[in-house]
Amino acid sequence: MSIDVLERPEAVIDDERVFVMLTVAGQTCGVPVASVRDILGEQAITRIPLAPPEIAGSLNLRGRIVTAVDLRRRLNLPPPPEGHKPMSVVAEHGGELYALLVDQVSEVMSLKAEDFESNPPTLEQAWAVFSTGIYRLEDRLLVVLDVPKLLALSGED
């Protein structure tokens, strides 16, 4: 599917885009499907001492070491309830693989450009920094996550 998106002419991409939908702390979010390399269920994660708090640890994805970034911590959200099993959205950034830990990954959806709006001014700063805009879905709002920004953790800026 990602290839389809890439090969369509510009004009059409502007009209309709495909997102992986996920939830974090009850909020629906979307990540452009082209930037997603993998979706993983619960994984064994090795803690990394002395790492920034947003880094949950590292995990083994078919022989590659992937750094796990906790989306809740990144967005200043409270930790998930005890016993919750996070899922991961794997994306590449700066030649390395990262796994964004989210509460749930639900489906892949095409969204129309006419439903898109840029960040409303009242959106909380912690969210606005990592959001490129909002889609008005029928029953709820979807925040488009800025994956490169989420993964641009201190140490490289």
């Binding site: 803690r47 990394i48 001492p49 002395l50 070491i65 140490g155």
Partner: protein
């Protein structure tokens, strides 16, 4: 670039490397027809191919060189050092053209008429005759390893290094997957797949070995430039040098080979330049006229040992001593108790070149420290043996390969870590014997753990504490101590459990974790879990071990530089009975012995008349003996006020690196540091000053003009100065925050924290104060803040540099009053534009 040209470049580069060696051989054995025709053939090939590819400039140079060689082959010319030099010059010209071709794809513009004219003149016999008496002495035997074997009958194909690298990565993954499968199979008895799995396992091992072999190259490849180098050196320096190379076919990983190429070249150059004496000096010392440099490479227990030996004059211990003293690397007292070998190791420290005069070749102040850094970067070590008058031998020990290392798997705080086997010396189990002996028992001084190991005190560090794993160290009994070698220092790492050793594939850590220097990489274990690989060098640095030792390892040149300036002069004294304490001498104004009769009481507190004023005296121990004949007092002064701290006796003044173990100490003490090998409390002067008079710092505070408390950020990598400044500035009426480095400070800025002023150190690892200041000034919320530089270096040049970088003011470390003065100046006036 077309394929034809690319192939030509690869081939020519290889040929040129061989030519250098062959020509030096030819110079020694002018009548060796095989070598001569080998050289002729190579030059001829180069000439022929460039004619074909349309490279006229290259062709002309090669042609002129071939002419001379042709004359030699036809016996019209005899080989002399000058002729060889000319041909070498022609080859250098060819090399530079080839290099440009490789980079730009075209021949560089230029004219080689002079060179060609010289070569042509030689070919026609014009200059060769008068030089012929300078033939090399026939008694110099050709070095064994220099014999060129121009047999190219082995069948080879050319494969790019990238392909091999990819293969290596894939095989590494295959090995890991195999290990995982084996682990699974172990838990299932009689599984149908156990037999094929065994076969798979064997094949994988063979494959791994095979691919490893493709990466292996003889160490001679790193050496083939050396004969030429030594030859040029001997002509330039007018020394006679023989180079012998043994074990040139010892194989090692090409990645490792690349790393050691430059250090080796540098060391050989050093040996030739200032290791070996001139022929006259050698004759006078009763040695053969020609000096000898020998290289020897061999395998030893999974490592490669390379020895670089010369039979020269040896290292001048006295000069190293003087230099170490002058550069503040060690004090006279420290040097006095060091062995000659320990002193000799100072040459591995930054900024210590012993060459009496600078030559074009060496003695430029960079050198052995860089060599050591490069070798340590690949997990190797370098040491030396020095025999004054008989020469110096350097011994390099490096791993065979970087890709797969053997590692010890340990557990601390319920997490597993890998420690490279290379740095592990032994394992000790801490236990309390029934007979009460103290061997193998962890002992503590003020909470800092130590172990007696064969009559030496081994500093220990708890891994779970160091990595802040949040699990309190369980009972010492039964804990394991991994004894690790870091440079020349030993360090014990306390872990909870030790598993076995495993072959691991080192993968670099992700970019956002590079600042955590405690890890050298990470890997995937046989059971599929990810594990961090510890870096013993990083651990030693983090704990300050090696900082006080005589031969501190130099992991990174920059860090070394930052720390070498941080020797602190400490005043040692006795108080509280027999306890030893220390205070930075820079903070003490004077030392006084006050006669008992001059100590009076004012409101029940002891005071003395001092320089026409009353000076309060504060006992450092609660109950003070006022019956002594004289009272030793440390006087602290600030502007026109002074206070005296009463102690039992003054011991000494020493220079030492200060590494404070912080936390959990009594008020009035900053913590404990090991000074001259003894644990001592470090006095918190800020605390005692406020004890003497609660209004001590009131004069320094921006009195009454501004009700709001000013907020100052202190940036210093040195924990001691942070600990010193925070209470001092706090007492002066400021709210103080501290950052352990420029990056941490910038993170505070990016997090939106606001301050009224910044006080920053200059010498800091990673990002220094100047860069930090420029970064702050470049933009952001802090761009207009007053920034005060605080440093040990306050030469006019440094101050100018600081001002240029944007610092508002520049004060010397340890002069507290200057700092408070500067802060007050820039906070009461609007910040300087």
């Amino acid at each position: 670039m077309d394929d034809l040209l690319a192939d030509f470049l690869t081939e020519t580069n290889e040929n040129l490397a061989e030519l250098d060696v062959a020509l030096v051989t030819l110079e020694r054995t002018p009548n060796d027809e095989a070598t001569l025709s080998f050289i002729f053939r190579l030059v001829h090939t180069i000439k022929g191919t460039c004619g074909f590819l349309g490279l006229p400039r290259l062709e002309r140079v090669a042609h002129a060189g071939e002419n001379v060689l042709g004359k030699i082959r036809d016996k019209a010319l005899t080989v002399t050092p000058d002729i060889v030099s000319q041909i070498l010059a022609a080859l250098d010209c060819v090399k530079s053209i080839v290099a440009h071709l490789g980079a730009a794809g075209t021949e560089p513009a230029g004219d080689d008429a002079d060179l060609i004219a010289t070569l042509n003149a030689t070919a026609s016999g014009q200059t060769a005759a008068p030089e012929s008496e300078k033939n090399p002495e026939p008694e110099v035997a050709p070095a064994s390893a220099l014999t060129v074997t121009p047999t190219a009958a082995v069948q080879t194909i050319r494969v790019t290094v990238d392909v091999l690298e990819d293969l290596m990565t894939l095989v590494s993954e295959l090995v890991l997957t195999r290990n995982q499968l084996l682990q699974l199979a172990r838990s299932q008895e009689n599984a149908a797949f156990s037999v094929p799995l065994q076969r798979l396992s064997h094949i994988t091992s063979d494959l791994q070995e095979g691919v490893m072999k493709t990466r292996m190259q003889p160490i001679g490849n790193a050496w083939n430039k050396l004969p030429r180098l030594v030859r040029d050196l001997s002509r330039e320096m007018n020394k006679k040098i023989e180079l012998t190379m043994l074990g040139a076919d010892t194989e090692l990983d090409r990645q490792v080979l690349e790393f050691i190429k430059d250090p080796l070249t540098h060391m050989v150059r050093n040996s030739g330049d200032h290791g070996l004496e001139t022929p006259d000096e050698r004759r006078a010392a009763g040695k053969p006229e020609s000096g000898r440099i020998s290289l020897n490479a061999f395998h030893e227990g999974g490592h490669i040992i390379i020895e670089i030996a010369d039979d020269g004059r040896g290292l001048a211990i006295d000069r190293i001593k003087a230099k170490a003293l002058a550069n503040g690397l060690a004090s006279e007292a420290e040097l006095a108790v060091m062995s000659d070998d320990q002193i000799a190791r100072f040459i591995f420290r930054a900024g210590l070149s012993t060459a009496a005069k600078l030559t074009a070749v060496s003695g430029r102040g960079v050198g052995m420290d860089v060599v050591k850094t490069n070798i340590e970067r690949i997990g190797g070590t370098v040491d030396l043996k020095n025999k004054p008058g008989h020469g110096t031998t350097f011994i390099i020990k490096i791993p065979l390969t970087l890709a797969i290392v053997s590692a010890l798997i340990v557990e601390a705080g319920h997490e597993r870590f890998a420690i490279p086997q290379l740095s592990v010396v032994e394992l000790v189990r801490a236990r309390r014997e029934a007979d009460g002996t103290t061997e193998s028992v962890i002992e503590r001084i003020n909470g800092t753990p130590f172990l007696r190991l064969r009559r030496r005190l081994l500093p220990l560090v708890s891994l779970s504490g160091l990595l802040q794993l949040g699990v309190p160290q369980t009972d010492d009994d039964g804990a394991y101590i991994v004894v690790a070698q870091v440079g020349t220092n030993m360090l014990g790492i306390i872990v909870d459990r030790v598993f076995d050793t495993e072959e691991i594939v080192v993968k670099p850590v992700t970019a956002i974790l590079r600042h955590v220097t405690m890890f050298s990489g990470n890997t995937i274990l046989g059971d599929g879990s990810v594990i961090m690989i510890l870096d013993p060098n990083g651990i030693a640095r983090a704990t300050g071990i090696g900082a006080g030792g005589e031969a501190k390892p130099a992991p990174v040149a920059a860090t070394e530089k930052a720390h070498s300036g941080q020797k602190t002069t400490m005043l040692l004294f006795r108080a509280n009975g027999d306890q030893k304490m220390a205070v930075p001498l820079g903070l003490v104004a004077r030392l006084e012995d006050i006669p008992r009769e001059r100590i009076e009481l004012s409101c029940g507190e002891p005071v003395t008349q001092y320089r026409g004023k009353l000076m309060p005296l504060v006992p450092i121990s609660g109950n003070h003996d006022l019956e002594r004949a004289t009272q030793p007092v440390l006087v602290f002064a600030d502007r026109d006020r002074a206070m005296g701290l009463m102690v039992d006796s003054i011991i000494d003044v020493v220079d030492d690196h200060l590494a404070i173990e912080l936390g959990g100490v009594r008020p009035g003490m900053l913590g404990t540091a090991v000074i001259r090998g003894e644990a001592m409390d470090i006095v918190d002067t800020g605390y005692w000053l406020t004890r003497a008079a609660t209004d001590w710092f009131d004069g320094a505070a921006p009195a009454g003009q501004d009700v709001r408390q000013r907020h100052v950020l202190v940036v210093d990598d040195n924990a001691f100065f942070r600990q010193l400044l925070v209470p001092t500035l706090g007492a002066a009426g400021y709210q103080v925050s501290a950052a352990a480095g420029a990056e941490e400070a910038l993170r505070l800025r990016d997090a939106g924290r606001l301050f009224d002023a910044i006080v920053s150190d200059i010498d800091m690892p990673d990002m220094d104060g100047l860069t930090f200041c420029r970064t702050v000034r470049a933009g952001g919320a802090w761009a207009a803040l007053p920034i005060i530089a605080m440093t040990a270096r306050a030469e006019p040049r440094d101050i100018a540099l600081g001002r240029a970088a944007g610092f508002t003011d520049y004060v010397t470390k340890s002069r507290r009053e200057d700092l408070t003065e500067a802060l007050r100046a820039c906070l009461t006036e609007p910040a300087l534009a």
